[in-house]
């Protein structure tokens, strides 16, 4: 997608009015939603830079170790369904070991280390991530199916930036919370999803380490590889053993990890259902908890919005990372008077999206991460059709193997439809209309979620009014899907609690004591 090339961190033009929009096929007379009449030559990124091991053990105590469980599982390339590597399937005894090692590291080295020394380790990690950025980008794309231009220009730069940002906090904690001393919590158990594996790792590990905690992190079972390569970064940085521990395995291992009695802090990013399961599992334990859960964001376009910019924002909002984004703008709310022209333009734009090989530098929409997710998306698309919404998908060839979904647009969507209520976590956009700002607010807020929202209008006072009334933790005005380590991110209502990023993200990993 066009806007993905100018994500945060990289240098970008002053506004979202990306020039490419003016050269869209619709203005060239191909406004009928047909596939564009030209081909791009393949521009594959080489995967040579990544040296995959055939097997990856657990990363515990600074070493790669075989699982005590003796079990392994395979992680696939979702674009080809080919196996990438075997990965340790941790058992409960491996979790016990990892937590014990993290506790020891907290007591003996990391917890006692002055902030200025912790800072330098984190700066080292940030630098090494920058130095090895291409390797990480390619590996991330192989394991997730996301387009290389996203992993290269968004994920990995943000990962390095996140470590960089929190590195600087490690020796300035005394200035973070007025009148209070920030103490680490202890051992943090962190469970992360498969949509942004390394970025979520950074969001979890960087603030935890900056505040003086040690961590045991469980990556998603379908995307463990970048976390295991991160283990190598920890070794290169000479991070003391046991400060970062990575255990791989299925969801039940994540549950065993968060339930472990010697864990002080639990942080989870993933679905609301699993978040609730974790909440129940640790109820009454006294563990600190932060949750970053699902979303069903409304992207609201008013009749005075800059339409071409809005189209790019809508596309970025729902097709970035194949829509596998908790804050994806999956409900498009369009003011009735412009609904028709906007949908037409949107269909034209969808026809230009290139779906296919994630390693191709021209690819806009990559592969769906795993078979289960593909089945869920397909099921919800079928439900949309069955409930009477109107389906549009551009004509585009999909590769024969791998997990693929065409960019999908539903019009005539009612609020009661499942596609307007449930988080699809795929490249599926539901279009609804509204007449007045009040109606837009009411529809936008009519969901148990409250993670993000978008507003498109040229009128400043209207933006600020919408910002005030939308019950969402992040509001993007005349933009969408922007992220930055300094910018707190997190949800209202059933989208979770606690913030990641910024000063507020630090708060999730400290205990405040009187000075």
């Amino acid at each position: 997608m066009t806007t993905s090339r100018d994500h945060t961190v990289t240098k970008r033009p002053a506004s979202d009015a990306v020039g490419r929009g003016t050269a869209s096929p619709s203005s060239w007379g191909f406004g009928d939603g047909q596939a564009i009449p030209w081909e791009y030559a393949p521009a594959p990124e080489s995967r040579e830079i990544v040296k995959l091991q055939s097997r990856y053990g657990l990363f515990v105590g600074g070493k790669e170790i075989a699982p005590r469980s003796g079990q392994w599982f395979t992680t696939l390339d979702p674009a080809t369904e080919e196996p990438l590597a075997e990965v340790a399937r941790a058992g409960v005894e491996d979790v016990e070991n990892a937590v014990a090692v993290a506790r020891r590291a907290f007591r003996r080295s990391w917890g006692e280390l002055p902030g200025r020394e912790r800072a330098k380790y984190l700066f080292r990690i940030a630098r090494i991530l920058q130095e090895r950025s291409r390797e990480f980008a390619v590996l991330e794309t192989l394991d997730t199916g996301k387009p290389i231009k996203e992993s290269r220009d968004v994920d990995i730069p943000l990962v390095a930036a996140h470590f960089w940002y929190y590195a600087g906090w490690a020796d300035k904690l005394d200035y973070a919370f007025p009148g209070r001393t920030a103490q680490p919590l202890g051992v943090a158990a962190q469970v992360i999803p498969w949509n942004f594996p390394l970025l979520m790792l950074a969001w979890k590990i960087a603030p935890a380490l900056a505040a003086g905690n040690t961590v045991v992190l469980k990556p998603a079972s379908s995307t463990p590889l970048s976390a295991l390569l991160f283990a190598d970064v920890c070794r290169q940085a000479d991070l003391p053993p046991g400060v970062v521990n990575i255990v791989t395995g299925p969801g039940e291992i994540g549950l065993a990890l968060v339930k472990h009695p010697d864990v002080d802090k639990v942080a989870f990013t993933g679905s609301t259902a699993v978040g609730k399961q974790i909440g129940r599992a640790i109820a009454g334990s006294g563990k600190a908890l932060t949750l970053e859960l699902g979303g069903k964001a409304a992207n609201i376009v008013f009749d005075d919005a800059p339409l071409d910019q809005a189209i790019e924002g809508i596309v970025n909002g729902i097709f970035f990372n194949q829509g596998e984004v908790c804050c994806a703008g999956s409900r498009l709310l369009v003011q009735e008077s412009i609904a028709e022209p906007l949908v037409e333009k949107l269909k034209d734009r969808l026809a230009t999206l290139r779906v296919g090989d994630p390693l191709d530098k021209n690819t806009d929409v990559g592969a769906i991460n795993n078979a289960a997710q593909l089945a869920k998306i397909e099921e919800l698309i079928e439900a949309g059709v069955a409930e009477g919404a109107e389906l549009y998908q551009p004509a585009c060839d999909l590769p024969e193997r791998g997990y693929w979904v065409r960019p999908t647009l539903f019009t005539n969507v009612a609020q009661s439809h499942r596609i307007a209520q449930e988080e699809i976590f795929g490249p599926v956009l539901s279009v609804l209309t509204f007449r007045t700002p009040d109606e837009a607010v009411e529809k936008a807020n009519n969901t148990p979620y409250g993670l993000s929202a978008g507003v498109w209008t040229e009128k400043g006072s209207r933006i600020l009014k919408m910002v005030k009334e939308l019950r969402a933790g992040v509001v993007w005005a005349n933009t969408f899907n922007r992220f930055d380590p300094t910018s707190p991110f997190g949800g209202y209502k059933e989208s979770g609690f606690g913030r990641e990023g910024g000063l507020h993200g630090l708060l999730a990993y400290v205990r405040l004591e009187d000075r």
Binding site: P178, S487, D514
Partner: protein, 311 residues
């Protein structure tokens, strides 16, 4: 100290003959949506002073009362939240003004409820009033302490501001009948939330009198709703209510904490927990320990806003 004449005590005088003047006793009711209904359940329970003397029959609220209170709190939320910070601060300060005028009554009630000497009770009441003033003053300052402008690495204006969470269930501390309640309720209100309070079970009378103060203050009806009764009956439906956004669990008995947190996660409620060892161990008279901006922040959401910078 001038104790009011039997204004709160229902125990019959010992004298065999009728007194010169028969006291008018107060019926202690619950406070929902700005009114003082009786419980729909029609039940009550006997409240005793610290020395065991019966003081009054308090309403034994029901789960239906909890639901009514939540509905009132939800209805009151948008306009309370939409007040300007300065106005909210003034409205809350006004509560302190009215509390000041009822010092004697609170002193008598707190003294009886908690078995305190006159001087000890006075200290509790004075601190409660001063604490209310302290929190009222935060209304137009907390955003500046908690909010940030975020220097993102791109051409965007990006800022984060606190907003009210919504409807908050407050399970008041069991021991400190007035000061503990004020210390937990005021930070909820100052951020723009509305509240459903479960008063101390054994010492509910000062809380009811506080609700009478609120009813005659400028705090709109429904912003605070207060129910008396048994914790085991009132706390579970409050913790499980799907239209409650957060729960202050300081007054939840230890044996109920796990169940409350389990119920609360069903709609991802924010839970404000007492520190390890329980909320009762805190010295409510100690300003440094018992009044904190973090307690306001516990019931606030952080909203981050992005806008491109361009021409």
């Amino acid at each position: 100290m001038a104790r009011p004449t039997r204004a709160v005590a229902k125990s019959a005088p010992q004298a065999a003959e009728a007194p010169e003047r028969v006291a008018v006793r107060k019926t202690y009711k619950i406070y929902i949506g700005g009114g003082f209904p009786r419980s729909e359940s029609g039940r009550s329970y006997v409240v005793r002073a610290a020395d065991g003397t019966p003081l009054a029959n308090a309403v034994r609220g029901s789960r239906k009362d909890v639901r009514d209170a939540v509905r009132a709190a939800r209805a009151a939320f948008p306009s309370w939240d939409a007040r300007t910070a300065m106005n909210r601060g003034q409205v809350l300060y006004r509560v302190a003004e009215l509390l000041e005028g009822r010092r004697d009554q609170f002193e008598a009630e707190v003294g009886q409820a908690e078995g305190l000497s006159a001087g000890e009770a006075r200290a509790q009441v004075d601190r409660a009033i001063d604490r209310w003033v302290w929190y009222a003053g935060w209304a137009d300052k907390i955003s500046q302490v908690l909010g940030t402008v975020n220097p993102v690495a791109a051409s965007y204006f990006d800022f984060t501001i606190p907003e009210a969470t919504g409807v908050v269930g407050v399970v008041a501390p069991e021991g400190s009948s007035l000061l503990g309640l004020v210390s937990r309720l005021a930070p909820v209100l100052v951020g723009g939330n509305t509240a459903v309070v479960v008063a101390s079970e054994s010492r509910p009378l000062p809380a009811v009198t506080l609700s009478e103060v609120l009813a005659t203050s400028d705090v709109p009806g429904g912003v605070v709703n207060l129910i008396t009764g048994l914790r085991k009956e009132l706390v579970p439906p409050l913790a499980a209510h799907m239209d409650v956004n957060a729960i202050d669990a300081w007054g939840v008995p230890a044996e109920m904490v796990a169940a409350v947190e389990e119920a609360a996660i069903e709609n991802v409620k924010r839970v404000a927990r007492a520190p390890r060892g329980g909320g009762e161990r805190i010295d409510w008279l100690d300003d440094r320990a018992a009044q904190r901006p973090e307690w306001i922040a516990a019931f606030l959401e952080m909203k981050t806003v992005w806008h491109p910078i361009g021409v």
